[in-house]
Structures are given as structure tokens and as C-alpha cells.
């Protein structure tokens, strides 16, 4: 009984916090159909600002700054107001210029803002966690129920604050003039403008309220778990989004229901399942996938929101004009599919292995080809087929773990076989790992077939998290967070390809195969079907393209490449751990393709080259040396600017279009 009672209280706390943050997602999604990933970071900023205001002094950028040491009940509303204002500023600078951009642009901008805010917060408050200060309200003696359940006064406060703000918001949306205007904008923004509703102001209002709810949730979360940390918003943000989707995005009661449901499932799974604490997140995401598979609109949601808006995910082809004109001409020329040109490019890439004699830079080139190949795989799914996939790294992980477990744990560990005797298995594994990942891709793809647009992204994200949690927690299989060491380097007829030069050449050979394979596929009827799905799925279906089959094929092909690269990565690094397969990796890869150019062959490599060379150059800068996280802030900033001025990416002119000229 006592554990049940305590779990009940914990679930209610967590549910209240999830529900508040879910409201932020649901409100903004309801009004402009944008998943504002940055709410996770506004959640975190709410916590940091509140904690800072409550302290007598706090270290900002490493300097001790005096702070007002306000009581909790003053600091809380102040932090909420500051973050609400920040949310409006973010909307104004990063999202409003994208109102008419291709559908992917606002989502990428949201992810970029999220990366940017997290990095900046880490620069300001440092990577250490900040303890939540003691305050009078938190020190009151707990109330005891049935002699076994201890309820702290703050727990009652959390619950009351959550319920009061939800009721307040519901009344506001239902009965006030602004609330009505919000509902009208959500239903039909054009008609709303025609009755005189200032739609931009309504959207700003949705961000204001949403950010305030995220901040409130963040403060309550930090208070409950007694700390603030730059990455604290990440997982709760995902959970809140999950809760919003579970309940039916766009619905405020749905957010409350979804938040509570998720919190109860997680808390009770953690309490009653064996080793439940490790698996609680996986259980939450599994529920998300089940609900989306059987009821894509969520429990209380409306069906229409799952309909992808008409129009291409990646936007129209650009006309060479203005600042980008020389870039466009160059990539237009490069992307024309000229065989001589392609061979020349490959020769230049091979020649690099002999021109560059510095091992350090060759190692960097190995990274470039690894990331370039990986991004090429994701590009099939996102760039050619137009399916937004945030779980691609899972395939990479599958390939890497498959070969590592086979070589290190099974063959050497169990049977004592020396990897040098079976050097050829690496080459076989490239395909076996790819095939395994392709199979998983098709399996994962099946329940997502009914989903479109953002829902698809959220579901793939859930899959990714489950695979990551399995890699971390199934210690017998994967050695958990310690990772797997001593993976043999690739070798050829017993000659180990240990040096970076050979690894680069091997990676390059694989890249050429991968790009060649993708190009053959894309320029066949398969690719035409993919591009048709990307440009307009409904029209493609109406024209007789079996979209389900081609979407699965797209996942499987992307998965195959992901798995293959995973095998190469494991053997070239000789060490893997779950850290290599975080969601951030996935976001990074997506950003690389977006930067390089979605739906192009060269884009993924271009993006990888830019990013990895930037990382190296940045290491020499004093500012970056003091604050390494600012590199990610720079990436976020560049992407937001790119989305505003050039959403198609650098190599847009090289994009494969629906019309085949030759």
C-alpha cells in the first residue's frame, strides 16, 4: 500500500508537470502547426532563471554576479514572465520570417533554436548543475495521509498551480476575445484575417502563453528534483511532446490527459517492473508508438491534423539569383549527372589521400566520409521521399552493434576466434548489417505508414529513443554505457587497414558505391515514385503510385545504408557506446543534409565537410576553447539564417527533380 500511495503522489506530480509543458506544444501546434522543439529549452531556462533569482549570487559566464535572492513566490512569476517574453522574441526572429517557407523549414529552425538555446545556456550557467535553493515553502513539514503517504506542501502547490493554470487557459480560450481569435486562427488563418484578426499577434500570443507554461513546468520540475541543468529540458520536452500527441495535439484537455497518462504509466512501470527505473522511458515511448499506430490523431485529437498540408516538404527549386547565384550556377553544373565530371570528382577525392600526408587531417576526412554516407542514407528518406525521420541514427546503431557484438562478444569472447583469421567477415557484415537494419527499417516503417508530416517525425523519434534505451540498458547484449572496446580494424587479406590513409580510402570506396547505388535507384522508376511522394503524396497515390510500398522501400534503403555505415564506423573507430547514437547525432545529420541540400547527391557530403572542418577550425579559436558548446550555438544560428534566406540548402540547384531531363 505505501509504495502504491507514494507512486500515486509521484505520478501526479510528474503528470502535472508534463501536462503543463504539453500545453505549450499543443497550443502552438494548434495555431500554426509547428512542433516548437525549443519549448524543452524554454522549460530549462525557466528553471535556471528562477533559481538564479532566488540566489544571492550566481556564476554567469564564470563571473560571480550578484542576484536579488528573491523568495520563491516572487522568483517564479518573474521567471515565467521573462521566458514568456523570450518565447515571443524567438517566434519573431526565427519563425515569423518562415511563415511561407517550405514545410520543413520551420521545423528545422525550431530544432536549431533548441540547439542554440541549450548551448547558450551552457555558456552562461556552465555545464554543472545548479542546486535548487532552499526556500520557506519547501521546508514546511509534510502532511501524512493514512500514516503512510507523505505529501509535501510543495507537492500540493505543484498540483494546484497546474490545475489552476489549465482551468485559466481553458476559460481564456473559450470565453475571451483573444481566445476566440486564437481558435479562429487555428481553424482557418485566412478567414481569420478576413474578419480583421491580427493573425501575427495571435500567433505571438500563443507563443507567449506556451512559453509561460513551459517555464512554469520547468520551475516546478527543477523544484521537485532540486536541480537545474542545461540539458534538463531535453527529455521532459520530448515527454511533454509525447503527452501532447498522446492526448491529441491541439487539444488542451488532451494535453492534460496525455500528461497524466504518460506520467502514470512511467511511474508505475518504474515502481513495479523489474529494473523498471531503467526502462521507464522506453515504456513511455512504446505507449506513444502504440497509440499513434492505432489512433494517429491521439486520444482526444481530431483527424485532420494528421493530414500533411499540401505542398512539398522541401520547397520549390530555386532560381539562380542574388547572393547565391554563383553557388547555384556551380551546383547546377555539378549536379547535371555528367559521367566525366563525376569520375573527375571521385579522382580528386582519391587524390586527397595522397596529397594530405598529415594523419590528423586524414582522420578528419574519415569522419567526413562517414557522416557524408550516413547523411546520404537519411537523405533517401527525408530528401528524396519527403518523410521526416528523426530516428535514423537507430539504423546506424543497429549496424554498429551487430558487427561489434558478433566480432567481439560472440566470436572472440565465446569461441575465441582471432578476428585476423576472419578478416573477410567485415566485408560480409557491411551487407549483413545493412540488411538487418533494412529489415528493421521496414518493420519500423509499417506502423508509420498511416502517419504524415510531423506525427511521423515524432513516432520515428520514439523508435530511436527505444533503441537507444535498449543499447544503454540491455547490458548482457551491448555492455551498456561502457560500450564495446577492441573492435578489430578492417583488413584486406590479413593486411590491417589501420592507418587513416587506408581507412579514408576504404570509406571513400564505400561512399562511391553508396552514392552510385543511390543515384541508380533515384534515377529509376523507384526514385521517380519517391520524388512524387515527396512533392505530393495524395497526388502520387491518385496517379497509382503504391505509396505504402515505396515508403517502406525508402525506409529499408535508408536503413540499409545506415546499417552499412554503422559497420564501417564501428570498425574504423574500434569502440562504440550508446553516446555515439544519441538523438543529437540524428539532429546533426539532418542538419548536415539541410545545410548541404536535401534531395541532392552531393549535399550530404558537402554538409559533412563544412561541419567537420568548421569543428577543427573552431578548436583554435580562444572563445571556443573557453566555451566549446558555442560551436553548436553557431550551428544553430547558421541553420536559422539558412532557413530564412535559403531553406533549400547550398547545393539546391543539384536537386533531383520530378522531371527527368534525360
Amino acid at each position: 500500500m505505501d509504495i502504491f500511495g507514494q507512486l500515486l503522489v509521484n505520478a501526479l506530480m510528474l503528470g502535472a508537470i508534463y501536462a503543463l509543458a504539453a500545453v505549450a506544444y499543443t497550443l502552438v501546434y494548434g495555431v500554426i502547426q509547428l512542433v516548437n522543439f525549443a519549448f524543452g529549452e524554454l522549460f530549462m531556462l525557466g528553471a535556471f532563471i528562477c533559481v538564479s533569482l532566488m540566489l544571492p549570487s550566481v556564476a554567469l559566464f564564470g563571473w560571480q554576479a550578484p542576484m536579488p535572492a528573491l523568495p520563491f513566490l516572487v522568483a517564479l512569476p518573474l521567471a515565467v514572465v521573462i521566458v514568456a517574453g523570450l518565447g515571443v522574441v524567438v517566434e519573431r526572429l526565427a519563425y515569423r520570417p518562415l511563415r511561407n517557407a517550405p514545410r520543413l523549414a520551420p521545423l528545422i529552425a525550431a530544432i536549431a533554436v533548441s540547439v542554440l538555446l541549450q548551448s547558450v545556456a551552457q555558456s552562461i550557467w556552465g555545464p554543472e548543475e545548479l542546486r535548487f535553493p532552499r526556500f520557506a515553502l519547501g521546508q514546511l513539514p509534510p502532511i501524512v495521509l493514512f500514516d503512510t503517504i507523505y505529501i509535501r506542501v510543495m507537492e500540493i502547490f505543484v498540483l494546484v498551480a497546474a490545475i489552476a493554470s489549465m482551468i485559466g487557459l481553458t476559460l481564456f480560450v473559450q470565453y475571451t476575445r483573444m481566445g476566440r481569435a486564437m481558435r479562429a486562427t487555428a481553424e482557418d488563418p485566412t478567414a481569420a484575417r478576413l474578419v480583421g484578426i491580427p493573425v501575427n499577434r495571435v500567433i505571438a500570443m500563443a507563443f507567449l502563453i506556451g512559453s509561460a507554461f513551459a517555464a512554469l513546468a520547468g520551475v516546478l520540475y527543477a523544484q521537485t528534483y532540486s536541480f537545474a541543468h542545461p540539458t534538463m529540458g531535453f527529455l521532459p520536452g520530448l515527454k511533454a511532446l509525447t503527452a501532447a500527441v498522446l492526448g491529441g495535439i491541439g487539444s488542451i484537455p488532451g494535453a492534460a490527459l496525455g500528461g497524466m497518462l504518460l506520467a502514470f504509466v512511467e511511474t508505475f512501470a518504474a515502481g513495479y517492473l523489474p529494473n523498471g527505473a531503467a526502462w521507464r522511458d522506453a515504456v513511455g515511448f512504446a505507449i506513444l508508438i502504440l497509440v499513434l499506430a492505432f489512433r494517429p490523431q491521439g486520444i482526444l485529437g481530431r483527424k485532420e491534423l494528421n493530414e500533411a498540408p499540401a505542398g512539398s516538404l522541401v520547397g520549390e527549386q530555386v532560381a539562380p539569383r542574388g547572393l547565391f547565384a554563383p553557388v547555384d550556377r556551380f551546383f547546377g553544373w555539378l549536379g547535371q549527372g555528367n559521367t566525366v565530371l563525376n569520375i573527375a570528382l571521385a579522382c580528386i577525392a582519391v587524390a586527397l589521400a595522397f596529397i594530405i600526408t598529415n594523419d590528423y587531417w586524414l582522420r578528419i576526412l574519415v569522419f567526413v566520409v562517414t557522416y557524408g554516407m550516413l547523411a546520404s542514407g537519411l537523405n533517401i528518406v527525408v530528401g528524396f521521399t519527403g518523410l521526416l525521420d528523426l530516428g535514423f541514427v537507430a539504423f546506424f546503431a543497429v549496424g554498429a552493434y551487430f558487427t561489434s557484438i558478433l566480432f567481439v562478444l560472440v566470436l572472440r569472447g565465446r569461441f575465441g576466434i582471432d578476428p585476423a583469421d576472419i578478416w573477410w567477415l567485415f566485408y560480409a557484415n557491411l551487407f549483413l548489417g545493412g540488411a538487418l537494419a533494412a529489415l528493421i527499417g521496414a518493420l519500423i516503417g509499417t506502423p508509420t505508414l498511416r502517419l504524415r508530416g510531423d506525427y511521423l517525425a515524432i513516432m520515428t523519434l520514439g523508435f530511436h529513443e527505444i533503441i537507444r534505451i535498449v543499447a544503454t540498458n540491455w547490458i548482457d547484449l551491448t555492455r551498456g554505457p561502457m560500450g564495446i572496446r577492441g573492435i578489430p580494424t578492417p583488413s584486406l587479406f590479413g593486411m590491417p587497414l589501420m592507418s587513416p590513409k587506408y581507412l579514408y580510402l576504404l570509406g571513400l570506396a564505400l561512399s562511391i558505391l553508396v552514392v552510385f547505388g543511390i543515384a541508380r535507384l533515384v534515377r529509376s522508376y523507384v526514385g521517380r515514385a519517391w520524388v512524387a511522394i515527396r512533392e505530393n503524396e495524395v497526388a502520387a497515390e491518385a496517379m497509382g503510385v503504391p505509396t505504402a510500398r515505396y515508403k517502406l522501400l525508402s525506409y529499408a534503403t535508408g536503413g540499409f545504408i545506415g546499417g552499412l555505415v554503422g559497420v564501417f564506423f564501428a570498425h574504423s573507430q574500434q569502440y562504440i557506446s550508446p553516446l555515439s547514437f544519441s538523438l543529437f547525432e540524428n539532429i546533426l545529420i539532418l542538419m548536415l543534409i539541410v545545410m548541404g541540400g536535401l534531395g541532392t547527391f552531393i549535399g550530404p557530403f558537402l554538409g559533412a565537410l563544412f561541419w567537420i572542418v568548421f569543428l577543427q577550425v573552431a578548436q583554435g579559436m580562444p572563445l571556443i576553447q573557453a566555451h566549446p558548446e558555442l560551436r553548436y550555438a553557431a550551428l544553430g544560428l547558421v541553420l536559422v539564417l539558412l532557413m530564412i534566406y535559403r531553406p533549400q540548402g547550398l547545393a539546391a540547384r543539384a536537386r533531383v527533380s520530378l522531371m527527368m531531363s534525360k
Partner: protein
């Protein structure tokens, strides 16, 4: 003749590289009904959307009541007295009839004459009174059209832009809507009407402007347009 309430001169609207509307000029005198007619793709709706501010013109001027509308936001135009009944009605489907009408008066918060106007609209369209608590999405097409007109009237416009108000309606309903358009004009609202149903539009209007392939090909009082001219205009002979 008095100064026009709306004066459009040399209007051009482009979608990317496509010229949807080129050099369109028309004027609407206060108290009149002016029709913009033409076949599919002639640029009628595009012209109307430029006037209401949903589209930015590439060239030309739009003057309402003597004021240049360049750079004026759509919602500000509503406040100035320019309301549009959009194509396809576009009522707010999950809000009640009453809420839809109240949203029409969005720019008149605290205006004491709002209930009065509500009553005037329910006199014009009594069915809306019966359905006031019903969700707008559950109304029939004709009822939704009435609601869309009523919603636009709630802003007390001086000029009402109507985009295909009879589209997809039963003949009886078409008749009723057209009759109400005359009634709205009688109550003092000037009307610019876009219609595919040219015969009816001409019968109703004081002035008719004909568009073809994005250009004005004819402007005259409705009574001067005979069947021959109409046939030529639609079938595309040069006029």
C-alpha cells in the same frame, strides 16, 4: 457621379513567374453593385484577394475611399470598412454560429450596437437565429454561405467583397442569396461581386467588368451587355 468608393488602377498580381492578373482597372461607386465576371482562371478571385490584402500586388494602385491601400494589412482594411466573403465560404467549422458572427465583429470590441447588428443579420437570414448554438461545420452549404455573409456584415463594412457567393448551391438557394444581396445594398452597403453565374450577376449589377486571361476586356453597365457580347466574352472572340 460621386467619387468612387474603390478605385483599382493598373493592378498586376504574380504567382512566381506567372502573371495571374495584369493591368486590371475598375471602380466601384458608393451604393452600387459592381460585378467582376469571367471564366475559370480569368483572375477574378486573384483581383479580389489583392483588394482585400491577402495577396500583395506586383504593380498598380488600390484606393479605398480616397486612401491608398499599398502596404495596409488585411486586418486593417477590415477596420477601414472593407470586408470579404471568401470563396468557399470558409466559416469556422468547429465554432458555433453565434461565435462566427461575433468574430465578424472582432474589431468592434465594446461597441454597443453589435447586438443590434446581430439582430439585423438574423432578420436578413432567419435560419441563423434558429441555428445559433449549432457548430458552423454542421450547417448546409447554403446556410454556411448565409453565415459567411452575415459574419462579413458584422464588421459593418462600407464595401462588401463577395467571392462566388452562389457557388455549389441549389437553385432555390441561389435565388435567395441573390435577393439578399440586393437587400444588403438597399441597407446601404456597396458590393463588389465576383461571379461565374454571369447572367444573374449582370441582372443584379449596376456595372460589370469582364476579365479574360487576367486582363479587363470589357466594362459597361449591365444593361448594355447583350447575349451576343456575353457569348463572345466567354468563348474568347476578340472584342
Amino acid at each position: 457621379m460621386s467619387t468612387p468608393l474603390l478605385e483599382v488602377g493598373g493592378l498586376a498580381v504574380r504567382y512566381g513567374v506567372i502573371n495571374a492578373v495584369e493591368d486590371v482597372s475598375l471602380s466601384v461607386a458608393p451604393g452600387s453593385i459592381v460585378s467582376l465576371i469571367g471564366s475559370n482562371g480569368a483572375g477574378k478571385t486573384t483581383s479580389l484577394r489583392a483588394i482585400s490584402g491577402l495577396l500583395a500586388p506586383a504593380a498598380g494602385s488600390i484606393r479605398f475611399d480616397g486612401r491608398d491601400l499599398a502596404g495596409v494589412a488585411a486586418e486593417t482594411r477590415v477596420a477601414m470598412g472593407l470586408a470579404q466573403v471568401p470563396e468557399g465560404r470558409r466559416v469556422f467549422p468547429r465554432m458555433t454560429v453565434l461565435e462566427n458572427l461575433q468574430l465578424g465583429a472582432y474589431l468592434r470590441p465594446g461597441d454597443a450596437s453589435v447586438p443590434e447588428d446581430l439582430e439585423a443579420i438574423t432578420t436578413l437570414f432567419p435560419i441563423l437565429e434558429q441555428r445559433r448554438k449549432q457548430l458552423a461545420g454542421t450547417l448546409s452549404g447554403g446556410e454556411q454561405q448565409m453565415l459567411a455573409i452575415g459574419r462579413a456584415l458584422m464588421s459593418r463594412p462600407r464595401l462588401l467583397l463577395m467571392d462566388e457567393p452562389t457557388m455549389g448551391l441549389a437553385p432555390q438557394m441561389v435565388e435567395l442569396i441573390l435577393e439578399r444581396i440586393l437587400e444588403i445594398r438597399r441597407l446601404g452597403t456597396t458590393i463588389l461581386l465576383v461571379e461565374q453565374n454571369a447572367v444573374e450577376a449582370i441582372r443584379l449589377s449596376d456595372m460589370v467588368t469582364v476579365l479574360r486571361l487576367g486582363r479587363v476586356v470589357h466594362t459597361s453597365p449591365g444593361s448594355e451587355i447583350g447575349d451576343d457580347l456575353l457569348r463572345d466574352l466567354y468563348l474568347g472572340h476578340d472584342v
